[in-house]
Symmetry: D2
Subunit: 132 residues, 4 copies
């Protein structure tokens, strides 16, 4: 399993008139977090794209447990539990001060080439993820 | 069942460097669509809020089937199938020209009051939705 | 002069915890509005891009006069006053009900090719805009 | 003069199909940067709001000099040069690796109270900013 903790600070742009982070913004936080998780094990998303691969999200979900507010510091705990086959699943937990779970969710990714055709994951990625 | 079809046009701001709508943006389209579905049966979200109620999203998901691109016209088909009890479920299908399903998803909403406490749905909303 | 009026409806995603549209969002509305202005005179942004041209924003500004709120209908009055030379200037006024000016601003665009080099505006665009 | 350097990392969500940061997103970076500049001299935006004051943007501008791309690290150099009177001006420079200026801009803020009426800047803010 690979795990990475990514810190995000919440700014005005993310907060709606209920005074809480707008629900769609969590998926932007998830993107930040998974980019940093991959970087932490030596996988650079720009390099993957230069090699002709893309990892589009094919499904995602999020459950909201406790509100996140302007100026909050949150930690996104991101995990890859399974070796990717044709798909890669990434899990997320959003924590705030006091060890409070604010939200959890998942993204499922496929691997495609430049013309949008599904392909096997690049060997470099398989090799990096298989022994974790 | 209540159903509403809401048209969205895709602009540059929504499209990422893969040339497709960024995955989180679909949840903004869903918000547009459900606001208009509710309006179509006489429920105004601003009026609900003035009455002291909020309908935060407590869970959501989306599956991506076919890409949506810059300048595409899409239709969001939005449905409420079940009478809300403590929670309200709304379903979405994103269709593009040629009757192609691009994405489908759900949002689950609770009803809370101004201090964030879960409350029963307002009677006006129950009454409007129960006979559909 | 070319003028186009584009209607926008304000949703939750655009509104911050002051209860007003977040300042950066106006530039997204401006993008919508200029895309529709260009379409109204027969200029398709996707076609321009297929022809190998891009119109990046090289400068922009906005002044905020009156707040725009959730569920407001606004009209973006968009104008091209001058025939483009190396640059294209577009002007915007955001109006709400009661003929109230909410904001006004400008975007300045250059014309570049696929490798990012500044080029003369395409003749088709010059020809369309020169006699207006 | 007060100056603060704030680092931003660019993620997919910010990048459009030209492969560069979408022009409106810079104003979100500016918001991050000014929040951190104010924090660096002991001014907390949440505390200002709890005290009943808001600092809405009443005008802003940005000039784009060099593109910023996915995965770039940028520094926002943020400056307050003048003691605020009824208005507060903040200046921004966006720099990338190699000391390259990518963009520069300004935001002008007024001070308002909870009912949206223009007020004098709070004394605490004046006192902090006057001697810098």
């Amino acid at each position: 399993m690979i795990e990475y903790k990514h810190k995000v600070h919440v700014y005005y742009r993310d907060v709606d008139q209920m005074g809480v982070v707008y629900y769609a913004r969590y998926f932007e936080y998830f993107e930040e977090a998974r980019t940093e998780l991959l970087r932490s094990v030596g996988i650079s998303v720009p390099d993957i794209e230069k090699a002709g691969y893309y990892l589009p999200v094919i499904a995602c979900n999020c459950s909201y447990k406790n509100p996140v507010k302007f100026d909050d510091d949150i930690i996104i705990i991101t995990k890859i539990k399974d070796r990717p086959r044709s798909k890669l699943k990434i899990e997320y937990e959003v924590m705030k001060s006091g060890n409070i779970l604010c939200a959890n969710g998942e993204t499922i990714h496929s691997f495609i080439n430049k013309i949008g055709k599904a392909v096997k994951p690049p060997k470099e990625i398989i090799n990096i993820l298989k022994d974790k």
